[in-house]
Subunit: 346 residues, 2 copies
């Protein structure tokens, strides 16, 4: 077994604190890499506080993980010691179901193991990236380019792929008007990808203060959703809305901003159900959909695309001892745009 | 002005009763046809009782209207006296907006006049098909084949096009597993179209008693949604669900029956918002959409398709004096599958 240092929550009420545990030995198909950086996703906060469902404790959050390979199993073909490596939200799937065969491991129909707060096929709990090292089955390890700032790459493993995947699925690009709802970790990546794919990007926000930030990120337009006049003027304006908001919000209002046959894509995960009037959908054949993460092949494609196009997350690097402070700020929306833990501080 | 006999509700609490009013004179672009049959749509009941929103009273419901032309305006080109004619849910639109130009008059971005319970561009209320004659702008009058039972054609003008249109939009056909939720006026038409388009059709119903009916209509399978075993076996089974239910129901449960990227299409109109968990959408990228009626060009295409393929509604012909009894039975779901008023009884 591999002695591992981490930060964990012992239950949903205690703050994260140092905790040691053991990871499995490196199996023949496993890659072990030492973690250099780990992004702090809003879902870390949701899970560690049982906002979605009762979690498995002790919990070591973190699924935006990058580092350097220190050991590989004897059958591992695509990684060697010294390589940069990354892991996102999923560390195992059946590999044989219809969805896995179509490179949608995140929607595996049999088993699907999340990077933390889950049980693996061996029945053991999984522990995430707020730790110094990790052992992952080769098929779920990503290659990371050395061209980009490694700390700023970490958030691509969740915030990046979660926004990239639906924009690709719906073929968002030139000629499309894309609205990005919420300008946080996911939202700012959606703006970057939307622009890279050629769409005309509008940031929708309740806060007029974010206009400057939105423009800095390259957004073409900014719309304050609390201003009735701006809202009225935008009725039917957008082909797509990418909704990154994890707090309660009125989706019906946003559906009214879509053109006929327009698509509202949820990637944020509010804990409570949304109240959707069927009239909001039938009037103009609006489409409401959601998307979860992305498959491994697509995640690699996204990482390669980012390396080619010089796309990374905007980050604030933190010491792991400041993780609770970071959670508090994230809870208040005070982050531009992703906290990333420098794991050297562990 | 044209003296017109009708059945109307004087307010949301009174039963329908005889009422006389005047329709506009036949203008240069108008067609007047005497109404032979009018279907009874669930939305007639919803509107006459203010279930959706406060209505305009006196209200003459009815938007599944067929009859024979008795007068045409001087500029009318496509209809002559003696022709069979029909009108559905919409009797006017701007004709120049982006949606109208794309033959989606039902989603007109400027003005859109419903056949009843609405104000026309002249500011006058519209009155529907529970009446002996109607005057409609030529562009909103449909040609009706004499090959089919005219009374059974009437429901095609709403129940028919409302189910035909989304099935065509989503290209439902061979190789697809289509579930039809609810076996009423819309549902039974959805079964007929689904089969005609080559899909494998399953009827979903809370009532095991409907199995025989479903099979008689040609459905390949039947699933009782109150049976947990049948539900569990059907997880991820369907490519499409066409949801015709106007009562409250848990859409999340139905989303779980869709395969990855599967599509749930609402055409029923529950008055209260549905509670949708975003997790139901993100887990498997499910699509929730709605569809309202269809455009005029597509309605004509549907009517022609039905004439070619011998498709009509299953109806129960009633005397207009029994309309309240029919409403009571419809409210209880006791109709196979559409009441049609024989207007000779007016």
């Amino acid at each position: 077994m591999i002695k591992t240092k981490a930060y964990a929550a012992q239950n949903e009420k205690t703050p994260l604190a140092p905790w040691d545990f053991e990871r499995r030995e490196v199996g023949p198909h496993d890659v072990q890499f030492d973690i250099l950086y780990c992004g702090v996703c809003h879902s870390d906060l949701s899970q560690v506080t049982n906002e979605w469902f009762p979690g498995l404790f002790p919990m070591v959050p973190g699924h935006e993980i990058v580092g350097r390979v220190v050991k590989v199993g004897e059958h591992v073909k695509n990684f060697k010691v010294g390589d940069l490596a990354g892991t996102g939200c999923v560390v195992d799937s059946c590999q044989v179901c219809e969805n896995c065969k179509q490179n949608m491991e995140q929607y595996c129909l049999e088993v699907r193991t999340f990077t933390y707060n889950n049980l693996g096929r061996d029945g053991m709990p999984t522990y995430g990236g707020y730790s110094n090292t990790i052992v992952v089955r080769e098929e779920f390890v990503l290659h990371i380019s050395d061209k980009l700032d490694l700390a700023a790459v970490a958030p691509l493993l969740c915030a990046g792929i979660t926004t990239y995947s639906p924009l690709r699925l719906w073929k968002v690009g030139k000629g499309h008007k894309l609205a990005v709802l919420g300008l946080g970790g996911l939202g700012h990546m959606a703006v970057k990808f939307g622009i890279a794919f050629g769409a005309e990007v509008t940031v929708l926000s309740t806060s007029p203060k974010k206009e400057e930030d939105a423009k800095k990120l390259g957004a073409h337009h900014f719309l304050v959703t609390t201003d009735p006049e701006q809202l009225a003027a935008a009725r039917g304006a957008f082909d797509f809305i990418l909704d990154t908001v994890s707090a309660e919000h009125d989706i019906n209002m946003y559906l009214s901003l879509l053109r006929t046959h327009g698509v509202h894509i949820c990637v944020g995960l509010p804990p409570k159900p949304a109240e959707i009037s069927v009239f909001s959908l039938t009037g103009g054949s609006k489409i409401l959909t959601g998307s979860g993460m992305g498959g491994i092949k697509e995640t690699q494609e996204m990482l390669d695309y980012c390396a080619e196009n010089n796309i990374v997350s905007e980050i604030e690097l933190i010491d792991i001892r400041d993780i609770q402070k970071a959670y508090d700020r994230m809870h208040k929306g005070d982050v531009r745009y992703r906290f990333v833990i420098d794991m050297a501080s562990l």
